[in-house]
């Protein structure tokens, strides 16, 4: 309970400040929103490290090869950063930029996941008579 409350309180306070800030200083409002997202993401990262360590042990226990897990982590990181950047672009009112960032993110994830796709297709082909 104690992790989520500061974030929620800060978000509420900041959203009311933004209402005033957008009229007088729109530039500061956009920067402040971006800064808040960065700070929240930084706070979320440290617990994320433990979650990943746990999944790593589970994966090793279940015999899943490390490379697949590594690819999964990279895809997660790419999605994490893409969502962060596209949301900030949308906050600043730049829909076009957000679409560009999301397109690039999807491409990166596709490139990262290529080995898995190749593996799946090969195993399928071997199954056929």
């Amino acid at each position: 309970m104690s992790e989520i409350v500061p974030v929620v309180m800060a978000a509420l306070v900041l959203s009311f400040i933004q209402v005033n800030l957008r009229s007088s200083y729109p530039e500061f409002a956009a920067v402040l929103a971006a800064l808040f997202t960065v700070i929240v993401l930084l706070r979320v990262l440290s617990p994320m490290r433990e979650v990943i360590a746990v999944f790593h042990q589970l994966g090793r226990g279940a015999g899943v090869s490390v490379s697949y897990f590594d690819i999964l982590l990279r895809t997660l990181a790419a999605a994490y950063i893409t969502a962060f950047a596209s949301q900030i672009c949308k906050d600043a009112g730049e829909e076009g930029l957000a679409m560009g960032v999301e397109l690039a993110g999807k491409l990166v994830v596709m490139i990262i996941a290529l080995p898995i796709i190749v593996g799946v297709v090969e195993s399928l082909v071997n199954l056929l008579p």
Partner: protein, 65 residues
């Protein structure tokens, strides 16, 4: 570290707001706009540094390197 950055930015914002009022009183609209632009640039520099730190942490957390 994070919270101190928010207070620094709030400080810069308040300072610029006050100075803008003075400049408007003295009929120097251009300086006022220049000043708020300078303030935004300073805050942007801090923001970029924070984002750089965030990306380093993401790299280390998700073992991207």
């Amino acid at each position: 570290m994070d919270l101190s950055l928010i207070y620094r930015i709030a400080g810069v914002g308040i300072l610029i707001a006050i100075l803008n009022i003075f400049l408007q009183q003295a009929e120097r609209k251009e300086q006022a706009h220049m000043l708020s632009l300078a303030g935004v640039i300073i805050v942007l520099i801090w923001l970029v540094q924070m984002i750089a730190r965030l990306f380093e942490q993401v790299e280390s957390v998700f073992r991207w390197y």
